[in-house]
């Protein structure tokens, strides 16, 4: 049980490029293989899948979620969690709508909404990083509270009729078939990958995620880093809220309800450990495309909501279970062959919850 694949752990301390290569052979490799399979399957047996319109729809339908996924990856790798993102999205969307309805210029309303996202993030950050409460409890309160705040503004109404330029952000193609919001996503995707893997900030996130105490002893300002993660998450969630208001063209109190689970699922499926310190942006990005393509294929094949969820759930489990079982079987075979080596034959999966030693709590 105590075995721990050496490559990913070591890679963090060495060059990031080396680390990426090493990871590609493991979880990311599996995701890539899965993605290729799904795309091939969809392309050959699902009519309409290759339609360019469908390819854009596939991204557009989930654009707010996948933007927030990028920020959530940082939070979870940093050893925390933010359950409040969907409620912050709703709060931002509701603020835009009710401010605009009240006569505030749209530009200003958007800025205020983004500011509210920052504040919500700051609030989470204060309780988690400064007071030291568990992020699960704090952001659970946020999940209820921020949506409550949103409800307070909009009550049982639905507000729409936004100006054309605002809805155009998500609807009108500006570069090839891509809308401004999808371009923004692609830019943020690159920024997130660079930030996590090629900067000191990114390295610090891993160190803190691995062990808060080790990080503190090695001079990392843990409080500041954790605060930064939550503020970032809050801001990006508000951005997601702006985009969903733009895409749907109307805002209600239930906007973005339940998104947090989808967002966290994508991050975890990307190979990020829920206990922090592990995972790559490449994995998360691959996970985004695997899940979106899978869902799209299932939807076009008329597999309805429940079955879709079931298939994705099954895939989640199998994708971890099968490699584990194969590794176990291989380990047994090797052992039978007399190789009683260092005991590394067991479990190549780096994400095993119980394999993380020394994860500092809370």
């Amino acid at each position: 049980m105590a075995s721990e694949p050496a490559a990913p752990v070591a890679s963090r301390d060495r060059g990031a490029a080396m680390g990426l290569l090493a990871r590609l052979r493991s979880w990311e490799g599996l995701l890539l293989g899965l993605l290729v399979l799904i795309v091939l399957w969809n392309a050959t047996s699902v009519s309409g899948y290759l339609d360019p319109r469908n390819q854009i729809n596939l991204l557009t339908l989930s654009q707010e979620k996948i933007i927030v996924v990028l920020a959530m990856a940082f939070v979870i790798i940093g050893g925390e969690i933010d359950l409040s993102v969907a409620s912050v999205m709703a709060l931002a969307a509701v603020l835009i709508a009710s401010l605009y309805e009240g006569g505030t210029p749209m530009e200003l309303a958007v800025l205020i909404a983004l500011g509210a996202g920052l504040l919500a993030g700051l609030n989470n950050a204060f309780w988690v990083a400064v007071v030291g409460l568990p992020s699960l409890a704090v952001t659970l309160a946020g999940l209820i509270g921020y949506r409550g705040l949103a409800r307070l503004f909009i009550e049982d109404r639905s507000i729409g009729g936004f100006p054309g330029w605002f809805t155009a952000i998500t609807r009108d193609a500006v570069l090839g078939p891509l809308s401004l919001s999808l371009l923004l996503f692609l830019v943020l995707l690159v920024v997130a990958a660079v930030l996590l893997h090629l900067t000191g900030f990114g390295r610090t996130v891993y160190v803190v995620g691995n062990s808060r105490d080790v990080a503190r002893f090695s001079g990392v300002r843990v409080t500041r880093l954790k605060a930064a993660l939550f503020v970032m998450s809050g801001f990006i969630a508000a951005l997601g809220g702006v985009l969903i208001a733009s895409r749907l063209g109307a805002v209600r109190g239930s906007t973005a309800e339940g998104f947090e689970l989808d967002i966290i699922t994508i991050v975890l499926f990307g190979g990020v450990s829920i206990f922090g310190g592990r995972g790559t942006m490449i994995g998360v990005i691959l996970s985004i495309f695997v899940i979106l393509n899978l869902r799209n294929g299932l939807a076009l094949a008329n597999l309805t909501g429940n079955t879709q969820l079931g298939v994705i759930g099954l895939l989640l489990i199998l994708s971890v279970l099968v490699p584990n079982l194969i590794a176990t079987a291989r380990g047994r075979l090797e052992r039978r062959a007399g190789d009683r080596g260092a005991g590394t034959g067991q479990g190549p999966d780096p994400r095993r919850a119980d394999s993380i030693s020394g994860t500092a709590s809370g």
């Binding site: 049980m1 105590a2 409460l133 829920i274 429940n306 759930g313 971890v320 095993r352 119980d354």
Partner: protein, 355 residues
């Protein structure tokens, strides 16, 4: 003068949190008593105790799993499946004796929990992934099973409908309903299991450090598996109670329950990273959240749309003041122990100190 400190000195650190939660609960009740007319009555107790019962039973199971540094997100779906299947069974065979129905409920829950346990403990899939998956899969099974039929109250046997109305014990105005009594028994039973059975002690060791537990030769896989089976079993019991209480069971039954259960556990001070926590804490966590919810919807000063905002804030404050209180008490306790080294040592205390 020194009565309270002496009492505190006897208190063990894990109990400090429970005392903290209890104090917060008392403060809350006192506050709402000033705000809501007739709040301090037997009726309020009945309302909250019966409504907390289902969550509390599931939260006990969740606590077992969380103690081992895992999580079971599938409880809501297990509750739904059990409520539906047992409901169908009773609709079609109204003559079925109660103990058979309860056995079926518990059996289905245990089986579904065993699937989770197999995947997590022996398949070494992270619990959050595994149970997010089964959360969806069990719900799909339910939707497929149901064929859009709804279990309706009138088709259920009378004895089942009597369950939520049955009062076991009435002290003055306060009714202790059967459902609440079951929940309390479950909490006490499993609290004793944690404290006195080797299995219970091992759960703490596993959650504190799975690697060293495994090195130390503990049957980690088997213990984690059993924790999931027990969680499923209790979710099955909760599913039966859900059926008895709500009667009308559709495919959405129990949906989102996992969030309430996890919230109860987290607010109840069970460390989500394993190793610390207690059943009583989980019960208090469930009671705290439910008291907040039930009181807020009865508080006329607060509009329908303000409630959730306040609920979020109050949960945050409860958790924060609990943490602060805990810190104070722990310091006090440490000082007290230093002062009188003769006090019984607590070598067997759970390791891990995180919130």
């Amino acid at each position: 003068m020194s009565g309270i400190p002496r009492l505190l000195r006897r208190v063990q650190p894990e109990q400090l949190r429970e005392i903290g939660l209890l104090l917060i609960l008392i403060v809350l009740v006192a506050f709402f008593a000033t705000q809501i007319e007739g709040f301090l009555s037997g009726r309020t107790f009945t309302r909250i105790s019966t409504s907390v019962a289902v969550i509390a039973v599931a939260a006990v199971g969740q606590t077992l799993v969380v103690l081992t540094r895992n999580i079971d997100l599938s409880v809501g779906s297990i509750v739904g499946v059990v409520a539906y299947v047992v409901g169908t069974l009773l609709t079609e065979n109204p003559e079925l004796p109660a103990y058979v129905a309860i056995a079926v409920a518990i059996g289905i829950g245990a089986a579904l929990g065993a699937i989770n346990g197999l995947i997590v403990a022996y398949g070494r899939v992270p619990a959050i992934i595994a149970t997010l998956g089964t959360l969806a899969i069990y719900r799909v099974v339910l939707v497929e099973l149901s064929g859009a039929r709804t279990i309706t109250t009138d088709a259920l046997p009378d004895w089942l409908l009597e369950v939520p109305r049955t009062t076991l014990l009435a002290i003055g105005e306060i009714d202790l309903r059967l459902m609440a009594a079951v929940a309390i028994l479950v909490v006490i039973g499993f609290q004793l299991l944690l404290r006195y059975l080797p299995y219970g002690r091992r759960l703490f060791a596993i959650g504190s450090n799975p690697d060293s537990a495994s090195v130390a030769g503990l049957p980690v896989q088997r213990d984690v598996f059993v924790a999931f089976v027990l969680s499923g079993t209790l979710a099955g019991l909760a599913g039966f109670m859900f059926l008895a209480r709500f009667g009308n069971i559709t495919v959405v039954a129990g949906q989102g329950l996992e969030l309430q259960v996890v919230a109860a556990v987290v607010v109840g001070g069970v460390n989500i990273f394993g190793g610390t926590g207690s059943m009583v804490g989980a019960l208090l966590g469930a009671a705290l959240i439910d008291t907040l919810q039930q009181s807020l919807i009865r508080w006329l000063e607060v509009s329908e749309f303000l409630r959730d905002a306040i609920l979020g804030l109050l949960i945050l404050l409860a958790v924060a003041s609990d943490a602060v209180l805990l810190d104070r008490l722990r310091n006090f306790w440490a000082r007290a122990r230093r002062r009188s080294p003769t006090t019984e040592t607590t070598a067997a205390q759970e390791p891990g100190s995180g919130l």
